[in-house]
Structure formats: C-alpha cells, structure tokens
C-alpha cells in the first residue's frame, strides 16, 4: 500500500505540466533519433546534457529517459519500412517487419511495434517498482563464467534463427565470430587483423555492419529487380493491427517483456541479445514457424517488447546501485550528479521525489510514445509510396549519413559500404544476415567472458561447472543442441506410423 501511495506521489510529480512538456519533447526527439540509423540515444543525450543544467532535476531525467525510450521505438520504424535498423536492437524487427511491409501490412507492423513497446513498458515499470533492489543484487551474481555460459546458450539457439539451410547459417555464424576477433585483443592488448587501420582497433563497428548488411544490400537487390512497387501501393490495407493480429501477438509481447527486462538488468548485457532470444523463442513456440521470416506478426511483437523492456531493465542497476551499464545510463547518471543527486541504494530515501517521479514518468513517457506514434503511422506508411528511384537514393543517403555520424569517422562509411556489398552477395547466395549480427555481438562478449573467467580461475575450466548458474546454462545449452536429434527420431517414427 505504501508503495502505491508513493507511486501516486510520483505521478503527481510527473504529471505537472512542465514535466509533461519535457516528457513529450524527449519522446519526440528520441523517436526522430531512433528513425535515423546510426545516431544512438547516447549521442542525443550528450548533446542535450548542457541544456539540462538549467532544468530542474526531475524534468532532466524525464527528458533524458524519454529520449532513450523514443529511440528504442523509433528504431523499429525504419526497420519495418525500409529494412534499415535504426538501432542494432531493431535488427530482428527487420526480419518479419519488413516482410509485412512488403505484403502491404506496414501499418499493422508499426502498430504492433508501438503497442508492444507500450505494453512492455507498462509491465516492466511495475516490476521495476516492486523488485528493483532485489533484482539488482541478484544480477551481481553474474560474473564472467555466467556470462560465458549464457553466451554459449545464446549461440546454441542461433541455428533456430535460420530460415533456410542450417549449414549456411552455421557458416555465417563462424564468419561473424571471426569478424568479432578483429581489433585490440581485450585481455593483453595485441592488435588482431587490424592491418594498420586505426579504425579497426575497436573492431568492426556493429552499427556500420548492420546498416550495410540490411539497408544497402536491400537497395542493391531491389535495383536489380524490375520494379514492382504496385505491391506497396495497392495493398496498404489497415493501419492498425486487427483482432487476429492481437490474438497472435499478445503472448509474444508478454514473454518478450519478461525476457527483455530480466536480461536487461544484467550489467553489460546488450539490448540486442534479448531481441534475438525473443524471436527464437516465438519461432519455436509458434504453430506455424515456417511463416517466420515472411511476415509473421509475432516476430515483430516479441522482439519489440523485448527491446523496450530491456531498456527499462538497464535502469535497475543505475537507480538501485548507482552503476551505469551503458553510455545512455552513464549520461543519465552524469546529468543527475550535476544536479547533486546520486543514484544508488540511498536514492529512495534521500530523494524520493526523484525516484518515484522517474518511475511514474517512465509510464507517462510510454503513454506519450503511443499517442505520438499511432497518428504518425499513416504518415510513415506513405513513405512507401515514394517512387523507388527517389526512395532508394534517400535510403542510401540515410545509410551513409548514419554510418558516418556514429563516430564522425569517414572510415566507418567505407566499412558500411563494404558490408553492403557483402550483404548483397550473401542475399544472392542465400545466406542470412541476422545470424551474422548476433554472432558479431556474442563473439567478443563470449571471448572476453571466457578469458576473464580463466584469469580469475588461474586457468582452470572447472569454474564453469562448479558455479550453479553457469552450470545450469551450460546444461540447457546442451539440451537445446541435442533435442533436435531426439525430436527428429520421434517425428520420423510418427510419420512412418501414419504412412502405415
């Protein structure tokens, strides 16, 4: 009851007109930032930081958190419309979202992405309120061995991402893992495969790879084909998800929210991984897994819920322990500290209006995001009616601008273009891009986790099996890998019986 009272108090703070305006502004800027590929929320937060010195602290965090959320949502817009993930976290949304748009269902895809984000936001804000301190402490149990085991599990489910040939998917995974080794060795500092190109010291940029693989390659493939834009023109039917869509999406949204939130809490876990895991789970659970990749709405709903939930999750370690888990949260922390407020275990006691105001404004921000984005859907969908020769030039321009402004580094554009060509060839020869992105995210994390664990254990591999969380992840990974063998035999037997 006490918590509810405080939450109401929080709402009274968040609903003050000035704070509502800040919230709206944050969400709006965030959406635009998200729509632009390459510009992450961190860049926008950083630009606005000096402005917030002149704004009261509650409003500051409302504004900045609004940007983070808006970006998560905005990222899905370009994924669905033109196959460019606005953020790495929206890569998975491309898989089915873009196919839905091609089938004339861009409206429902955008709609379900907005609703999924909203529902995920609602659910996770409540978990945040009731469980934040407990969860933050539990997340600390995740040390390097646990990360490693989790990454192994992540890799083992990756083959389920594949739509076509599993062998091709595995080849691409290996390619992604190899790409992940480029750069300064994370443990001893020896440069690997850098070829004296300083840009490669940090590895191949994820954003550049993603923009190239998805955006540029899609343009190249389409230019090659005879233009069939009628598909988009004639069949834009319905701007909102219908009842059937809702029935299919509600389960994925619920699961995606939980998954995203709990993975988001773990420090160092990226927002990217939960979206992939959500997609794979939905594909496994679906009654029609064959539809995934050709416009299944569940493949949009789950991951979109997961990425929003994960960005709420990342606030848990910051608000309850004062630990920033990424660039965006570090900027939020910096903004608060300049106002003399230190997030951490004492925040709830020392500055209740901040803590509860923030929590309430997260919720208000989600509502605002929905209000803002539903009317925009009509506008976004019209973009698809732009003649291809204009649209493609615009997409390429966006890709180039996006890959450049991440670091203001021209080499990044070269990397992006290179991966555009790689992506084109991969499409030509029927290799999928999504497993490559996941491998590129997982690979470096897995490597550092493995090597950190071994430094900590003085070289002993037992550390992975003696720690309960790590051991159970490894067992699950093993089961996942072996299960097709058992299931396949069973299915074969059933088929035989049916034939008799």
């Amino acid at each position: 009851m006490e918590i509810l009272n405080q939450l109401l108090f929080g709402f009274s703070v968040a609903l003050q007109p000035m704070n509502l305006i800040y919230c709206f502004f944050g969400v709006l800027v965030g959406t635009l930032i998200g729509v632009l590929p390459g510009v992450g929320p961190a860049a926008a937060l950083s630009l606005l930081l000096p402005v917030t010195f002149h704004v009261p602290p509650v409003s500051t965090i409302i504004l900045l958190a609004g940007i983070t959320y808006g970006a998560m949502y905005g990222g899905s817009t370009t994924s669905i419309l033109v196959n460019i993930p606005g953020e790495a976290a929206s890569v998975v949304t491309c898989l089915d979202g873009y196919q839905m748009a091609r089938n004339g269902r861009a409206g429902p895809a955008l709609g379900i992405a907005a609703f999924a984000s909203f529902i995920a936001g609602t659910i996770t804000v409540f978990i945040l309120v009731f469980l934040a301190p407990t969860l933050a402490n539990a997340a600390l149990k995740f040390g390097p061995p646990e990360y490693f085991a989790l990454m192994v599990l992540g890799l083992s489910i990756m083959v389920y991402l594949a739509r076509g040939s599993i062998i091709n998917a595995l080849i691409i995974v290996c390619f992604g893992l190899i790409l992940g080794t480029i750069g300064l060795d994370p443990m001893v500092g020896v440069p690997r495969f850098v070829y004296r190109i300083n840009t490669l010291m940090d590895g191949v940029g994820l954003v550049q790879v993603v923009i190239g693989l998805f955006g540029v390659s899609e343009v190249l493939i389409n230019v090659e084909r005879t233009f069939k834009q009628e598909i988009f023109k004639t069949k834009v039917k319905g701007l909102l998800p219908n009842r059937q869509d809702w029935r299919q999406s509600i389960g994925p949204i619920g699961r995606g929210s939980m998954l995203g939130f709990f993975l988001g809490i773990i420090p160092g876990m990226s927002v990217v991984i939960p979206t992939f895991v959500s997609y794979v789970i939905e594909k496994k659970l679906s009654k029609h897994p064959e539809k995934f990749g050709s416009g299944a709405i569940e493949g949009v709903a789950g991951p979109e819920a997961a990425n929003n939930a994960a960005s709420t999750g990342t606030l848990v370690p910051m608000l309850s322990l004062g630990i920033p888990t990424g660039a965006s949260t570090a900027l939020l922390l910096g903004a608060l500290m300049i106002h003399g407020i230190r997030p951490g275990p004492l925040l709830i006691q020392d500055a209740p209006e901040i803590f509860w105001g923030v929590v309430a404004s997260l919720y208000v921000g989600n509502i605002m995001l929905l209000v803002l984005n539903l009317p925009l859907i009509g506008l976004w969908v019209k973009i698809l009616k732009i003649p291809y020769h204009f649209l493609f030039s615009l997409i390429l321009l966006l890709c180039i601008v996006g890959s450049y402004i991440t670091n203001n580094n021209p080499y990044d554009v070269i990397i992006m273009v290179t991966f555009g060509l790689v992506g084109y060839l991969m499409k030509k020869f029927d290799y999928e891009a999504a497993p490559l992105v996941l491998a590129l995210v997982l690979g470096p994390m897995m490597e550092t986790a493995l090597r950190r664990s071994l430094v900590i254990s003085d070289g002993g591999f037992a550390i992975f099996f003696t720690r309960p969380i790590s051991a159970s992840f490894l067992i699950v990974a093993l089961l996942v890998l072996l299960s097709p063998l058992v299931l396949k035999k069973k299915r074969l037997r059933e088929d035989l019986r049916a034939a008799e």
Binding site: V35, L36, D185, G322, S328, I338, R342, L379, N408
Partner: protein, 328 residues
C-alpha cells in the same frame, strides 16, 4: 501527395543536420571568428565527454567565442587525436588532450599515427581523473599495508578488475606491481561500469577504478577505498591516503584531461586558450560542476607543464607495454 509523404524523412534529415552542426551565432572579432571545434576522442557518455559538456559553456565565455564539441571515438582515443593532429593549425580544430591517447594507446598501436613529443601542441591541463584501490567492505584488508602484505605472501592470487586493456588503470596496476614488488593480476573489463558489479558480486578481489562510480558504493557501505592514485587527497575522502604518501611514488599516476592542438598552432592562439582555460578552471561555477561530477580534481597546468608530465609518463610506460603484449 509526394510532397506530403516526404515529410518524415525531411524532418529526420533536419535532425541529422542539427546534430552534425551544433552552431550558435558568432561575433565579429579577431579570433575566433567562427565556432571552434573541440574534438573529444571518446564516445558520448564517457567521463571526458560529460566533463566537456559540463564546462564548455563557461570555457566559451572565457575565450569569447563559440565551442562545438565533436565526438570522434575509436582506437582508445587515437582516431580523434590523429584527426586533430593532422588538421590545419588555424585554431579552429582543437583537441580534448587526454593523457592516455598520448602516452598509453600509441604504445599498443603498431605505427601509431602521431608522436606526442613532436606532433602535438599542448595548451593546458585542466583536470585529472584520480584512481582508487577499492575492495569490498567484507574484505579482510583494512589498509593498503594489509593488501600489500597479503599480495606478497600470495603472488598472483589477488585479481583486480581494471577498466580495459591499455587504459590508465591497467598501467597503474602494472606500475603498482613493480613499485610494491607484488603480483596482482589485472582482469580487464569493458569500462568502469562493469568493474563495480564484478567487485560487488565477488568475482574479483579488488579494483583500480576512477572515483565517480565508487563513491555511491562507499556511501552505502558496500566497499572500502584503501588508497588513491592522485596528486592530492580527495575532498570527499579526506582520510584516504594517496599511494605516494605510502611510499609508492612512481605509480602515483592519474589520467590528465587537457586542451591541445596540432603542431604549429600560432603562439597568440595558444596563449589565448591557455589564459581562457586558466580563468575557466578558477570560476566558482565550474569548480562546483566539477565537484558534482565527483570523479575529477581540477589540476590546472600550463601547456609546457602538461607536456612535460605526459612525456615523462610516456617514458615510464614504454618499457612496460612490451612485457604485457608478450613482445619482449
């Protein structure tokens, strides 16, 4: 119809331009005539980025012009630093001259694209990030002496989280090993944000970390700071000694953050910025902001002083790096 449908993308492009060029009005005068670009060689959200965003307004006022902060991250600061080093020395492209891309990162890079001694104009040192040896509150070590005694008795047993390979805390850890004749194993994590959970979760025994992320944990009683690597004691922890006070002088190093430019910068421009920096770092408002950011200590030095300091550390680190990367 088409005009209307392009609105979204046009708005998006407008935002892109707005992000690319953050320019205010400029005043007619000698120098600076337009906005001066200060390149931050790190990503948005890092401590250096937040520091500059905090003080740039005041710095701009002191110099009487406009400042545009531009992040050019990559290669541990090498990409942004080399961009400035290779730009025209007209005073319109300056550098957030952090000490690590000048005296550490080049040692890890084959054919580093610049030489801190020859290619950089040092304008001023503004502040330092001090580092701290931190352990969990339930650890048996109460003082630095306890820790050193344990490390001596158990070589390689202590594991220390550091914020990445080739960073100042990584070098400090190695320097301290040599200074105190111990073997504490550094475990590189991706940034300070990962070191704190690793320490709190009990996955490592200690961490060499900048103060900002540690302070909240100190206040809530979860960790204990044993010693600082810093030119002076820290205002908020007056009881905590620096390692130099404990007799470990050579490892008492902190990351410097300063202002620099390409070589051949006209002396008049250098002087103008040096004076502006000196004035800015004395302003009460700036002192307040830096205090609130918590990880920093203002440590103003003129260009020559900063240059000497960076080059001295470079000479110290040079023989250590090959032993780490295995290229003896």
């Amino acid at each position: 119809m088409h005009r209307k449908s392009g609105t979204g993308i046009r708005v998006a492009l407008a935002v892109a331009l707005f992000l690319l060029v953050w320019v205010g009005g400029s005043q007619a005068q000698e120098y600076p005539k337009g906005p001066v670009q200060i390149v931050i060689p790190f990503a948005p959200g890092g401590s250096t980025d937040i520091f500059w965003r905090g003080i740039s307004e005041h710095m701009a006022k002191s110099v009487g012009g406009q400042i545009a902060l531009v992040n050019k991250a990559g290669g541990g600061g090498i990409v942004g630093t080399s961009f400035v080093v290779n730009s025209k020395p007209d005073g319109y492209t300056l550098l957030s001259a952090n000490s690590d891309p000048l005296n550490i990162a080049p040692l890890f890079t084959p054919d580093a694209p610049y030489d801190a001694e020859k290619d950089v104009t040092f304008i001023a040192k503004l502040a330092v990030f001090p580092f701290a040896i931190t352990v969990r509150a339930d650890a048996p070590f109460k003082t630095l002496e306890d820790l050193v005694a344990y490390a001596k008795a158990n070589p390689k047993k202590l594991k220390s989280a550091v914020a990445g390979v080739g960073t100042t805390p990584h070098m400090i850890n190695e320097m301290f090993n040599r200074d105190a004749k111990v073997e504490i194993t550094p475990v590189p994590f991706a940034g300070g944000g990962e070191c704190v959970p690793a320490l709190l979760g009990g996955h490592v025994d200690m961490t060499v970390l900048s103060i900002a992320p540690v302070k909240a944990q100190v206040l809530s009683g979860k960790v204990r700071v044993l010693a600082l690597f810093s030119p002076t004691r820290f205002r908020d922890f007056p009881q905590i000694p620096t390692v130099a006070e404990k007799g470990y002088k050579t490892s008492n190093i902190a990351t410097g953050i300063g202002l620099g430019g390409p070589k051949g910068l006209p002396p008049a421009i250098v002087k103008k910025w040096e004076d502006a920096a000196a004035k800015t770092m004395k302003e009460p408002k700036v002192i307040e902001i830096v205090d609130k950011l918590e990880g920093l200590i203002i440590d103003f030095k003129n260009g020559e002083g900063y240059r000497k300091e960076v080059l001295t550390d470079l000479a110290t680190f040079k023989p250590i790096v090959p032993t780490l990367t295995g290229k003896k």
